[in-house]
Symmetry: C2
Subunit: 756 residues, 2 copies
């Protein structure tokens, strides 16, 4: 089952379906809207990494002119399910091949007019979208077809497109605009596969053709749309035209074949097969689909925004979501994408340096909300106070220092799992060094306790701002210092010239001893001897300990923010999202199962799960401690978030909906690291399945240090196949039994005992 | 001019006049209400140091049953300016002798009935109040006099008086009650100087007498009221009775004489004579009067609450106000009172230790709002949010750590000015040690900058909570460490046994080296090389720099709080009250005049003066830098605050008015340390007058190290007389010229040049 399908038309779900039926290829995203829609229906062709600011509003990504506009007019009336009588409507997304279908049967003058459209954004050619559009009628009709480019784009804080130039010459149309802030050129070209009359307004350009259809006759055409920007290099306009012309020459079917082949490639490297649970199977694949359309294969200048390419929400910014919730998937299935995501942090390092300087620190303080320069798009005032109407002062930007540790940690995982030491010299080492520098300058020493502490931070649980010694943060800072020291050792050993160049340029060698001392004396909150609980931060356990219900009963306004200076949660133990449990998940082999269980049971009832990042940590840890059925609901929650769309779409008139790629990544994490029990430690890959009741087995590929493996983890049997082309053996462990799996061979464990 | 007088009756000023016409003697206060008033008119006989809590409301001081109740009935109607026709009404306060007068002429049946009452709270006998009451008529009338005790007392968070027992036997009445929380017995006895019929209700007991007055006839009686509590020792009830009986034996006039003699004694030691400015003269004396009625001569178990004894506002709690704004006056005029105020901190040291422990620190973290045990009466939630109606989370209690430094600093000043080394052994040394311990455990070391820092504090400017390295706080912490080390040196030198006992008991000797190191490496924000500005705290100068007008224009509600998590001032440079300037004032000899001037000019326009503590610091520093006319308006503001009563009396229905003893103390500070330019440094007393335009001279006594001096500081001439009984010479300096003034001698400087 590879089709996400919706029958019947529901005008209330236009915004939601825009997300559910998204297409994309990392370069751009196209919302799952209908061809006849305009800006009021949240049509958007969002460009990754192109940002613009209007006045003193916040910067946000730019939407390109909509080249996919097609409308059918009957007796002068535009057919649309919003205004016309609909007999039948289906919207479908082929998640295997990234193809959007719609089929609408309109009733008109006693007959039926059927509109069908199929479209895809090419994974083979990043600038290209293509569409096949057809219309037929059950009775003779006269129709007008319009196909063009709509320059009236939807914006949250726009308009960004200025100096709009619309041209049409035969069947080649173009919209060209310049952004206000940085004067980026944005070009959409479209080539219609039919002849017609060129028309236009100040905001749109299109071709019109009159159609006379006999009863039962179908008329169809193909359309090739290319989007380029001046960020792609000089001659973007010509490039866009050329791209359309080439596409037309190749033809729709051939383009689709190449595109589909790339998608197949993705699934070959990434598909996870769950046997025994079709619902989970589809939800997980649907999650992977969203990662597929966001993968930045083409460039390291962009990363994956927290709302993907589904809109301008959250400023199109890149958060820790990428490193902590998406990167593991790419690292273990398509390391080249992971590499780009890591190098994005190197490309934005100067922004992180500027931010550190702004707050008086050394090194790199990565943006909480990074745009293309690495400067922080996050403001000090953002969450609206429902009581006064003013934006509240929050400390996401200035106190969520764990972001720099998350980046370093992610690089470390990438290095371990890929063996790609070259990336150190290409920027990763510099990033790590600057993160360690930052934390050294951020930490304080407490003489009376003979330890370093990390003060005044906001951990993942954003409801508790400005706390001291947040367990997650301190542990991650410790890791960062360790990672820096290790990475420099590795570089010195494996690439002496690279090390020397870096040492000369960054002049860090005099700092290493201090970093080592800080690491050795850093306070990392540990499980209490009696309860085994890890306190989320200093004095967390002294906060009021109330139930979620009590907290909610205190609300005076349904939308009031629970964090911030006066939020209801701030003085209680209620947390927004996994914090200690997230930390325990990352370091599960350092803490016994009993520690994880006790903390899970303590923190879960106190967790609001007010972030889509929360559920997967609870799923992974529950599976790890042998409670897969506790884990299951969290897995399903994270895997279905974008299918159900059960998340807030608006605050007042502000659109805040969109897709949740971190939750999509979290679904994979929960499946592979949770239920399949995969963990990659220095010397081995551990596989300790902990499957939900319904599941018979879970099968999936893994790429590790450039070699491919295929794992099937069942209730009693675990099987690992090393691909034929692999070059070296790899140690796998299940239960207490390790097997060094040779290239081309399969190892099988029965009840955690090796068979072969 | 020693009389504060108000003619005509204004019902709107009942609450205000309760403060303006206050009586008190440190043991108790009696609000300036009329004799016939009841609880709805804010009558209160507030007991210092007796607290009670009802349910989960906050703890507050207890008001005793009102023994001063006298009412006159004419034709069954109680005469009161609130309900009767008034021809003439005068309320007067003799501030020299602490005597309250009222005279009201009522029109009744075509004639005039005149009521006169005079009362005082004895400064000679702390439990005693006395009254002389008379009534006369211009026409023959039949009246009923009622004189008794009203057990229906005014409370903010009451009722506190339970098990009320009311007794009357002949002319001796008594009301006895028990507080709910700690079961304190509260007794008011009253003895009427006339015979009558004993009457009572469940809430009051009184004597009634029918009077038949001829035209022009006056009838009068005296009343003696005593208040005792079980905190005064066993047998409080008998003590109260005995006190009344003794008083009656001694008689009103004799009691008044003894009382007045004590007042005269106060003025002899404290009066400041300003020549050339009657308005300032009276305002200053009025301020000193309020200090006179609060001076805790009788006990070190109590101190002076921030609203004096004028009511239960601010929980009757003792703040830093006492040490920083009132103590200098007492130290230099009546050191025995200052000694009691300091020993109060010793008696409440265990509460301060508990508070330090509560927050995870060592030593003593004094209460922001101290009651009798030293535990903090301040809650985490207190200021109401006008938008949501909820109390806001503020950080007065947990972050205003400067309170412990203020206590240590005050002790240091007291020691320097009195030479009373014995107090060290009697508790002051222990207080200082515990304050140093607290700060050592509070501070952090910053290795990269090789310095200690004081993080996450709220300075005097409460609009900026949770800041790092607040200049005032850091400087005061530095002083505290210094004071501790010096005090221990002094004690070791002068009282070896005392030192050894302390060292044995508190075991601090192993810590001294660490304190010294911390002190030497403590970061104290210094004037910038170019601007000479001292940054109020880390990154203060990066805050939005707007005018007070702009800030106010952003208000959405007239009463919205400007501080707290989302307060309008918090993200701007607008401050509530003197902070850097207060620090500069305390250490003016360490900073050049130019530094003070530049900071004064920078910070003053950014200061809201939202606290009555603010003005005097600006007055003192302005005078010091030769700008007495800048200083004058701040002096007048602080000196008149309780006369004008131009401060908020109510928030909603919550009474928040009261007197401002810190501002009263601030008026003296501004006069003596500001305009007279007195400063007492280690080796000398400096006198550098800086008089406002109108002032010819200012004359005042000073007690220094047990010796008395009388200073007259004029525009050209400064005169210092050393009292005849003094034992040693004392160095005084004016301008650059020092004179060692011998006992019985007078030194005169003309234009800062010594004459004799």
């Amino acid at each position: 089952m590879w089709t996400f399908r919706q029958e019947n038309f529901n005008a209330d779900e236009i915004a939601l379906n825009g997300n559910r039926f998204m297409l994309g290829n990392g370069y751009m995203g196209f919302r799952g809207t209908l061809e006849e829609y305009g800006r009021e229906h949240y049509v958007a062709c969002m460009l990754n990494g192109v940002y613009d600011r209007v006045g003193d509003q916040w910067r946000e990504p730019v939407n390109a002119p909509n080249g996919m506009l097609v409308q059918v007019l009957c007796n002068g009336e535009m057919l649309s399910p919003l205004t016309s009588k609909v007999l039948n409507h289906v919207q479908e997304l082929d998640i295997r091949h990234g193809i959007h279908h719609r089929r609408t049967v309109f009733e008109k003058d006693g007959g039926e007019i059927t509109v069908k459209a199929e479209r895809f954004i090419s994974h083979d050619r990043v600038h290209l979208m293509a569409m096949k559009y057809s219309v037929s009628a059950s009775v003779p009709v006269k129709l007008v077809i319009r196909s063009g480019i709509d320059g009236a784009v939807w914006d949250i804080n726009g308009p960004h497109l200025q100096q709009l130039e619309l041209t049409g010459e035969d069947n080649l149309l173009q919209a060209k605009a310049v952004t206000g802030e940085l004067k980026h050129e944005i070009i959409t070209s479209a080539l219609n596969g039919f002849q017609g009359v060129n028309c236009g307004t100040a905001e749109a350009v299109w071709m019109e053709k009159e159609l006379v259809l006999a009863a039962g006759q179908e008329w169809s055409f193909c359309k090739y749309v290319s989007v380029c920007t001046s960020q792609d290099g000089a001659g973007a306009s010509a490039m866009a035209v050329l791209e359309c012309q080439q596409a037309a020459q190749i033809g729709y079917d051939e383009l689709l074949k190449h595109h589909a082949a790339k998608c197949e490639d993705f699934w070959r490297k990434s598909d996870v097969v769950i046997s025994g649970d079709d619902e989970a199977q589809f939800a997980l694949r649907y999650s992977l689909y969203h990662l597929m359309i966001l993968a930045t294969r083409h460039s390291s200048a962009v990363s994956i925004p927290a709302r993907g390419l589904s809109g301008q929400v959250y400023k199109g910014a890149v958060f820790w979501d990428t490193e902590m919730f998406m990167l593991p998937f790419f690292t273990l299935t398509d390391p080249a994408v992971a590499r780009n995501l890591i190098l994005f942090r190197y490309r934005t390092l100067d922004g992180a340096r500027r931010k550190a300087r702004e707050y008086g620190f050394d090194g790199a303080f990565f943006a909480w909300e990074s745009q293309e320069t690495g400067d922080d798009a996050c403001s000090h005032f953002n969450v609206p106070d429902v009581f006064s109407g003013r934006p509240m002062r929050t400390y996401f930007r200035d106190k969520q220092v764990h972001i720099s540790a998350d980046v370093a940690f992610a690089i470390k995982q990438y290095l371990r799992q890929t063996g790609d030491v070259a990336i150190l010299r290409e920027g990763a080492a510099e990033v790590i060094i600057e993160c360690a520098r930052f934390f050294y300058s951020y930490a304080y020493y407490k003489p009376g306790k003979a330890r370093y502490e990390v003060l005044d931070v906001t951990g993942p649980d954003e409801y508790h701002e400005r706390v001291n010694n947040n367990a997650y943060t301190n542990k991650m800072v410790y890791e960062t210092m360790n990672i820096a020291l290790e990475a420099l050792d590795t570089l010195r050993l494996k690439d002496r010239a690279g090390y020397d160049e870096l040492a000369h340029r960054l002049n860090f060698e005099g700092e290493l001893e201090a970093w080592r001392m800080m690491k050795d004396q850093l306070y990392v909150p540990a499980p209490a001897a009696d309860t085994l609980l890890i306190e989320q931060f200093d004095r967390y356990f002294t906060l009021e300990d109330i139930s979620m219900e009590t907290l909610k009963s205190r609300k005076l306004h349904p939308d009031e923010y629970l964090g911030g200076g006066n939020g209801l949660a701030a003085s209680t133990q209620i947390l927004k999202q996994a914090d200690v449990v997230l930390m325990l998940n990352l370091f599960k082999h350092e803490y016994g199962s009993e520690v994880i269980r006790r903390n899970w049971e303590y923190y879960e009832p106190r967790t609001e799960h007010g972030s889509s990042l929360s559920a997967c940590a609870y799923a992974m840890t529950a599976a790890h401690i042998g409670k897969p059925d506790w884990a299951y609901k969290f897995f399903m929650k994270t895997a279905t978030v974008d299918m159900t769309g059960h998340s807030k779409q608006f605050i007042g008139s502000l659109y805040i909906g969109g897709t949740h790629p971190a939750a999509n990544g979290g679904a994979w994490l929960a499946a592979i690291f949770g239920f399949a029990g995969v963990s990659i430690v220095e010397e081995a890959v551990i596989i300790n399945p902990s499957l939900p009741e319904k599941w018979q087995s879970i099968s999936f590929p893994l790429v590790l240090r450039g070699q491919e493996y295929f794992v099937t983890a069942g209730r009693e049997k675990v099987e690992v196949r090393s691909a034929d082309g692999n070059e070296a053996p790899q140690l796998f462990r299940c239960g207490e039994v390790s097997v060094n799996v040779q290239p081309g061979k399969t190892a099988v464990w029965h009840n955690k005992t090796a068979v072969k």
